[in-house]
């Protein structure tokens, strides 16, 4: 099975009001590179391939100060889902992994491997939390609505 892994793309944790033009530009440049990497991979293949696009924890649910990561992950999520629809007939699956913050590489690679297995041929266009449960309680960052007592 041919596989491609894109992301997670990581950018500075700059508050929205303070993001510099250059920081924003670097983020969109990275999106361009990622999008055309996916395009190039898809063009070269006819079936039996699996793409895992890693978004950001802040894409799924906002985390104060993480706008750049969130926007990049959001963009790639939709690109991946549309690609999943367009590439289905060619047997290429495209899925989105939502990482913890910070991303846990071991979890990401093992879930990507799972998605590239024969058993996961029917899984495409899915957004899957590969974060050890981070998204449930958002242990780091944000302001989780924890009920006390």
């Amino acid at each position: 099975m041919d596989t491609l892994r894109i992301g997670p793309l990581r950018f500075p944790e700059t508050p929205f009001l303070e993001i510099a033009e250059g920081e924003w530009q670097a983020m969109t440049d990275a999106l361009e590179q990622a999008t055309f990497e996916l395009q190039s991979f898809a063009r070269d293949r006819e079936g039996g391939a699996s793409v895992a696009v890693v978004s950001s924890a802040a894409t799924a649910r906002a985390i104060d100060g993480c706008a750049l990561d969130a926007v990049a992950g959001a963009f790639l999520t939709t690109v991946a889902q549309v690609a999943a629809v367009e590439l289905k007939a060619r047997g290429i699956t495209v899925n989105v992994l939502v990482p913890a913050r910070p991303p846990d590489e071991e979890t990401l690679s093992s879930v990507a491997e799972l998605l590239a297995s024969e058993a996961a041929r029917g899984v495409t266009g899915a957004v899957i939390a590969a974060d050890g449960g981070f998204s449930v309680t958002k242990e780091v960052g944000g302001k989780p609505p924890v009920t006390q007592g």
Binding site: F16, T35, A42, A62, A67, A70, A74, T78, V82, L87
Partner: protein, 257 residues
């Protein structure tokens, strides 16, 4: 709702049959003075500003490219200088293109990302800095799309830019809330607007009939429908609504995402 005494800036607002024009007219109708922005369409922009002035509100047309940060900063400063203040910011300018991912050109990618995403960032950040300094709260309303909730083939890049706006709005909402500035986005479905003239799904009468079957309301929206939704989000009544998505699609994506 009343927006009496408020000043709004609307980008991508000059052209006939455009969502931006619908927003500008609805806000003016509710009492706003308006800075009408567009990258081109100067005649239409001047005509719209005149129409708003005839209705008794202040208005001016300001040509600027939202992808040019210096030009955006100058536009925001012009709104404050010429209309006295700034209350409502409508980041609406956008472009669309239809290509499958394997066929997307670098030019098409750059144009959509630069205008839809970077343009909105420029407008929102430049304006937010002014609103924060002004210290009286404010409203940011971004035109996103039903693409935020539903993927459309041949529109990966366009959909990506709109999903990116969704994430941007949510982060603006968190950060700007202490300044009493709300940030929300509206989700047009099929609007009778010039941008949809190029949609492959709307080229023939048969296409139109097929697309209509997907819309429970049975007809496309008018640009003014978007304007009325924006007017609510821009109002004092919506002071506690932030980080939210208001879909205005006649039920189009209900049950489809």
């Amino acid at each position: 709702v009343s927006l009496e005494g408020k000043v709004a800036l609307v980008t991508g607002a000059a052209r006939e049959r455009g969502i931006g024009r619908g927003i500008a007219l609805a806000l003016a109708e509710k009492g706003c003075d308006i800075l009408v922005n567009d990258v081109g369409a100067e005649d239409e922009g001047e005509e719209l500003a005149e129409q708003i002035r005839q209705g008794g509100r202040g208005a001016l047309f300001h040509q600027a490219d939202v992808t040019d940060r210096a030009a955006v900063d100058e536009m925001v400063a012009t709104a404050v200088r010429e209309l006295g203040r700034l209350d409502v910011v409508c980041s609406n300018a956008g472009v669309a293109d239809w290509q499958e991912l394997v066929d997307v050109t670098q030019e098409s990618f750059r144009r959509q990302v630069d205008v839809n995403l970077t343009g909105a960032f420029n407008v929102c950040q430049s304006s937010a800095r002014v609103l924060v300094a002004q210290g009286e709260g404010g409203r940011i309303v971004v035109t996103s799309s039903v693409h935020v909730q539903m993927a459309f083939p041949a529109m990966s890049v366009y959909g990506g830019t709109k999903q990116g706006l969704r994430a941007l709005v949510e982060h603006m909402a968190i950060e700007l809330a202490p300044h009493r500035i709300t940030a929300n986005h509206i989700g047009p479905g099929w609007v009778r607007s010039y941008i949809n003239d190029a949609s492959p799904a709307l080229q023939t009468d048969e296409d139109v009939a097929t697309t209509l079957t997907l819309i429970p309301a049975g007809h496309p929206a008018e640009p003014e429908d978007m304007g009325n939704a924006v007017a609510y989000l821009a109002s004092d009544e919506a002071a506690y609504v932030t980080g939210e998505f208001l879909r205005v699609d006649g039920g189009f994506v209900v049950g489809k995402y």
